[in-house]
Subunit: 446 residues, 2 copies
Amino acid sequence: MPVTRYWAEHAWLGGDAVTAGVTIEVAGDVIAAVRVAAAAPPDAVVLRGVTVPGLANAHSHAFHRALRGRTQSAAGTFWSWREQMYAVAARLTPDSYYALARATFAEMALSGVTCVGEFHYVHHEPNGTLYAEPNAMADAVVRAATDAGIRITLLDACYLTGGIGAELKGPQMRFGDGTAEAWAKRVSGLADASQSAMARVGAAIHSVRAVPPDELDDVVAWAAENEAPLHVHVSEQLAENDNCLAAYGCTPTQLLADHGVLGPRSTAVHATHVTSRDVALLGGSGTTICMCPSTESDLADGLGDAAALAAAGSPLSVGSDSNASIDLWADMRGVEFGERLRSQRRGHWTAMQLLTAATSVGHASLGWPEAGRLQAGAPADFVTVRTDGVRLAGADPLLEALVFAGAAADVSEVVVAGRRVVVAGRHQLVDDVPAVLASSIAAVTT
Amino acid sequence: MPVTRYWAEHAWLGGDAVTAGVTIEVAGDVIAAVRVAAAAPPDAVVLRGVTVPGLANAHSHAFHRALRGRTQSAAGTFWSWREQMYAVAARLTPDSYYALARATFAEMALSGVTCVGEFHYVHHEPNGTLYAEPNAMADAVVRAATDAGIRITLLDACYLTGGIGAELKGPQMRFGDGTAEAWAKRVSGLADASQSAMARVGAAIHSVRAVPPDELDDVVAWAAENEAPLHVHVSEQLAENDNCLAAYGCTPTQLLADHGVLGPRSTAVHATHVTSRDVALLGGSGTTICMCPSTESDLADGLGDAAALAAAGSPLSVGSDSNASIDLWADMRGVEFGERLRSQRRGHWTAMQLLTAATSVGHASLGWPEAGRLQAGAPADFVTVRTDGVRLAGADPLLEALVFAGAAADVSEVVVAGRRVVVAGRHQLVDDVPAVLASSIAAVTT
């Protein structure tokens, strides 16, 4: 197999500093070798700046990208925002969702994301019936990622109720499979048809608001049988906690723990409003936490306590969630900045820990444990951030500057599965990303 | 006088939406006319995207730019960070500070800032003696702004004690004038020599930590006589409140109020930890509040209550402060996001209000009440943000998207005093801004 050589001016090999001069040999879609080399081999593609493993965006709702800048000025809450989000969800078709998701995933690629966890619940016709092709929507989203050049884990979400004890209504109708058993049957078909070198399928429980306790077990069983990731929104808003306590006499985390939802293959998204008992349950079970700081401030969720969860045993990942911003560099440091605002102390998370969250931990949480590291045998997914722009000029130490001052706008090169997806800041598969964003957003908002 | 015509595809004229098609006629350094025009006049410079008044960065310490990415990983507090900051302050000379400030102000210009309020306290030799030219450092900073193409208000800070009741020590020695009277004498010389069409001089009280009560009056008197802006750090950290209460039996805000520091020409920077009585004093006196959200999270200050202060009567401005990031677009929305995290509700500040904070209010707080608006007679300072990038693609309404999703990286054109300072994202006066950042930072850190 022919080998392509890249030479990184600086590369992060997983430690607490970057290494100057690193040759990365790629054979097919895998890294064949990584070696320190003061000078670039003559045939190498030179990567100026700092090269790191591709970022895993562990929590995304691609179609929310259409809402960016549309929901900001009106007073309200998460719940009034949700009405605006539902209006877009109601308009999606497999074709329009494909176009919007492809454009959104292309924006992610430009920002350094090489693998997305798409938390997917718009899977039925607007009236709630199955599409003729039952996974038409999921297929569209998976194709969108593939065509945008990034990996995807389609986290198909079981979503059965419109709130605890409430039927699905209006725009929620298309989220529902009726039962977890029906959900599992549909998702098994998806897993059989859609998994590829670039796509995997995982399970999701939308939340304790959307899946009754007696339906949780079937989702857990499906994920276990398929050794699939299992993601769930947990305690993003206090109202969820209040409703859960009123209905079941316990916190959402406790309910999930009692039904076997937590564990090392599981990811709790947000975990903003959790008790110390919840923290112990999440950490003790090895459940990954996915924090989404940009969305959690935008949607007025609050500040989760990432440090306490990590101390209890939970790995940390990060996600862009609502895609009101697509910049995992800001989200990485957003975790630390949130801790600083909570505690009025600095230095909870090192740059190394935050970049680990956005690379190897994020990938593992999405069912790609082999990815997110620059080493022989790993998928050939890596990202170069230029250091000759105004944001990182003068950076030293480089790793710290990258994590605490880098930005999506500084990403210059992206390689996914050995393919050069972004070159000199331009997407190679989607010609004009802003134009396809604009047209695909217009199609679902006007 | 020859007139230069610009035609903005969209422009913000101060209301709650942008206007499509606006011709801006510039005569010399002033806007001669603003008129709606569906098509560009044949001789016009076409500004694609959305054009807004130049941004006022109402609170900056230019030399802190050297610390970006250098202070992040170690555990600690604001106070341990300050030790690192002092180490850079100790190394500055008029020449090295000129180079660093020029590079930093050039980065600001690229981000859309056309006027900076530089809160200046490194004004003496390292051992605390006056420079042969007493304002050598201030002169360097003013020249740096002029050479970077932006306006400056040099807010010369009175800084007499190293804490309440403590003498200046070590690196603090060079901050001190000994007495407020000596400070006033020096600053009067600065005001006589340095004010120009592009530069004004204002007063600052570093904080109640650094200026004893009986010295406050001389600073207030100087500002009143000169009708100059008067800025002061207020309650950024709880320790300041504790020390003030212990020493004087009142809050910093109360102390400042009792000495006439508050008022419509005054700006309280941060006001993070204030009581409801403080809020009433600040708002009731018409004191502007300058919030610096990126720094306030970075330095673990906490979340101020901008909405309460505004409701009490304080105008809001924003600043980049430590320059750990230079992106007032992020700081604008950061004020609203902070409120959301505090309140778990959305919609405290509209896009119009936040952009007003960063334009006309910021300018007024820096002593340029005529600036920060696109209207005939105002200084010809304006900024164009491209809307054909990934961040703003699909934006509608444009004003909301600009404020809630725009970024420094999207600024394409900047005009200051009628001069095109940034064209197509490139600075016209400083050839390679990242290179001069890197060299000037290296000179004061290694």
